[in-house]
């Protein structure tokens, strides 16, 4: 059919269709199309829809009307929303910093010649392998107000006389969640940084040692600068994952007590799905975007500054 149309229209030269088909990028377009379709369908479209929903008053079962920035206006006076923004930032900042510190320490440790090296490395990965919900439930039990093994042990040791209310008190609950997040996130940081450490040629340390560097100076002048590209990537991912965390919170506290441990993600879910206010939930989700963009920008521009690792023979 196509041939027939083509022939029919080729009176005085090649048609646009024919020229398009013979263009060298035509095949390339078709190779790209499936990936592009998946990205558009499952990422760009839901994101766009989410942003659009945040400008409507949609509820479950009722298509919304465009209401402009009313949702955001409403949220700006909502102390629960601002509480969740505070806790999300606090949670991300504290958990990511500690994950980085412990992860780097573990990576440096595992990079040494230890006995049972392979076994130790696998053990470090365990928290990462366990499904999040499973580990969250385990932590829920560990921090349970009546059956907590920590309280039980401390009571048996005679250090305390009453069980600790881990998840019932706002600050206790916050620190417990941060602890659980760190426990779960350290392996990712540690193993990735370990992979980075192993790309550093041992002869650089030898050269630096002969140049007179102490162990600390070896780390400060060789290891750390050579690891910065990996650190930038790992920490970007770590910050993004932590900022958008949902499973851990939802399985352990569901945002409680009294909304003290709501992250923006859990609050959005609660308002949109459980509460039915799709527009408002979407607005909370959309409010996360500037924070995430900022995190990405920081690492992006951080990466660009390193001239020594970029291509090009001359400058």
């Amino acid at each position: 059919m196509t041939d027939a149309t083509a022939i029919a229209t080729t009176a005085g030269g090649r048609t646009t269709w024919e020229r398009l088909r013979s263009h060298r990028d035509w095949l390339g377009f078709w190779f790209m199309a499936p990936a592009a379709a998946i990205l558009i369908l499952f990422l760009a479209y839901p994101l766009g829809l989410g942003v659009w929903l945040s400008f409507t008053d949609a509820k479950i079962g009722r298509p919304g009307h465009f209401i402009g920035l009313d949702n955001y206006d409403w949220l700006s006076d909502d102390s629960v929303f601002w509480g969740s923004v505070f806790f999300t930032c606090f949670y991300t900042l504290v958990a990511s910093s500690i994950k980085f510190a412990i992860g780097l320490y573990l990576a440096l440790l595992l990079n040494k010649n230890l006995p049972f090296k392979a076994l130790l490395r696998s053990i470090v990965l365990i928290p990462f392998v366990v499904p999040t919900v499973l580990s969250a439930i385990a932590f829920w039990w560990i921090f349970d107000s009546q059956f907590s093994i920590i309280s039980w042990s401390l009571v048996k040791l005679g250090l305390i006389d009453r069980y600790i209310d881990f998840l019932g008190n706002p600050w206790n609950a916050r620190w417990c969640l941060i602890f659980a997040n760190i426990w779960r996130g350290v392996p990712f940081v540690a193993i990735t940084l370990l992979a980075g450490l192993q790309t550093v040629s041992p002869s650089l340390y030898e050269a630096a040692t002969i140049d007179g560097a102490s162990r600390w100076q070896n780390f400060r002048h060789i290891t750390y600068p050579l690891l910065t590209p990996i650190i930038a990537v790992v920490m970007t991912f770590s910050v993004l994952f932590t900022f958008t965390d949902f499973q851990l919170i939802w399985a352990m506290t569901r945002g409680g007590p009294v909304n003290a441990t709501h992250l923006m993600a859990t609050l959005s879910f609660q308002r949109a799905i459980l509460g039915g206010s799709l527009g408002e939930g979407a607005a909370i989700s959309t409010a996360m975007i500037p924070f995430l963009l900022a995190a990405i920008m920081v690492s992006w521009f951080g990466l660009q500054k390193r001239k020594w690792q970029q291509g090009g023979d001359n400058d």
């Binding site: 002869s203 650089l204 050269a207 140049d211 007179g212 100076q217 002048h221 600068p225 400058d315």
Partner: protein, 356 residues
């Protein structure tokens, strides 16, 4: 500058001994090359001098001081690594000045010494570049610059030229030798390339399987190898070894190979009549001569300045390097001869050179 003394040094990794008691004396200002096939322990020995490996037994002295338990940075040595080990995140300037910076030297002092070294090595225009922007030869020079800046007692080179292409290697060889003549710093240089060893060294230490086979000036080793290993290792193409027996003949002796090849020998060891020996003759000492022993030509490789001929006598391949442009055809028989004073005789059992 300082002398280096290596006294009965041993190295073992667990139960595996890799260096079995090595003794080397390196005089102040001397250029010593440790040479040997891979796995002979030459790099390990160098790393022990540098302090990067522990010494299992024996003693190393630098400038008279025993350094067995002295950390690398206090040994006052500088090392050039095979892969250069340049810090990729530092410019050429910072690479060269790093050791001074660690020692908290003044900025002006660093500036002065780095630019001095850069001047010597022709790196002035490259000081702002990063290692990845440099060619192999330039990186090599930066690695040397890093060593020179420190003005150490001893330079250590660990196969510094093996990552360079053949042409550059020859050029850098000359440069390093010239540098040594200029700075006169004691140098220990490790290589597996005997030509590097021959061309650069004041003194060569030939190592094999963790022991020192022979120590001597380049031409000493070439003219008077102590055993078959040194004879075969020094010189390119390698010396021909032919098994056979000696028969005395008035003033000298006649060597008869198992395949029936006979060559005259100037000095035979006492009471060697009829004894099995190994005759060694260098390819470049063989000449095509009408009165020599007959061999069959297998391959002819003209190189312009000389011609390499692979000939066969029985099952024995004999490599000849002729100065003249002889172009025999493969399969043809030619006659080869050699100055009887230039052949070497070895004991087939021990491999040691037989004294005349």
């Amino acid at each position: 500058m300082a002398s280096v003394e290596i006294r009965d040094v041993r190295k073992a990794y667990g139960a595996t001994a890799v260096i079995h008691g090595v003794n080397v004396d390196i005089a102040d200002g001397e250029f010593v090359v440790l040479v040997g096939p891979s796995g002979c322990g030459k790099s390990t020995l160098l790393r022990m001098i540098a302090g990067l490996e522990n010494i299992t037994g024996g003693e190393i002295r630098i400038g008279g001081r025993v350094v067995n338990n002295v950390p690398p940075k206090e040994r006052d040595i500088a090392m050039v690594f095979q892969n250069y080990a340049l810090y990729p995140h530092m410019t050429v300037y910072d690479n060269m000045g790093f050791s001074l910076r660690l020692r908290k030297a003044d900025k002006s002092e660093i500036e002065k010494r780095v630019s001095q070294a850069a001047e010597i090595l022709g790196l002035k225009a490259l000081l702002d570049r990063y290692p990845r922007q440099l060619s192999g030869g330039q990186r090599q020079r930066v690695a040397m610059g890093r060593a020179i800046v420190r003005d150490p007692q001893v330079f250590l080179f660990d196969e510094p030229l093996s990552n360079l292409d053949a042409k550059l290697r020859v050029a850098m060889r000359t440069e390093i030798k010239e540098l040594h003549q200029r700075l006169k710093t004691t140098t220990v240089y490790v290589t597996h390339d005997q030509i590097e060893a021959m061309t650069m060294a004041d003194k060569i230490v030939v190592m094999h399987d963790g022991i020192v086979e022979q120590i001597g000036a380049p031409l000493d080793l070439y003219d008077r190898p102590g055993n078959m290993f040194v004879a075969g290792f020094i010189g390119s193409p390698a010396m021909n070894f032919i098994k056979g027996k000696l028969a005395s003949n008035g003033s000298g002796a006649i060597f008869k190979s198992d395949a029936g090849l006979s060559l005259p020998v100037a000095r035979a060891p006492a009471a060697s009549d009829g004894k099995p020996v190994v005759l060694g003759v260098r390819p470049e000492h063989l000449v095509a001569s009408g009165e020599g022993a007959a061999v069959d030509v297998v391959v002819v490789e003209p190189m312009g300045s000389e011609t390499q001929v692979v000939a066969r006598s029985g099952a024995q391949d004999i490599i000849c390097l002729f100065r003249d442009r002889v172009m025999p055809n493969p399969g043809e028989a030619i006659r080869i001869a050699c100055d009887p004073k230039l052949v070497h005789l070895f004991d087939p059992e021990s491999g040691k050179t037989l004294a005349a």
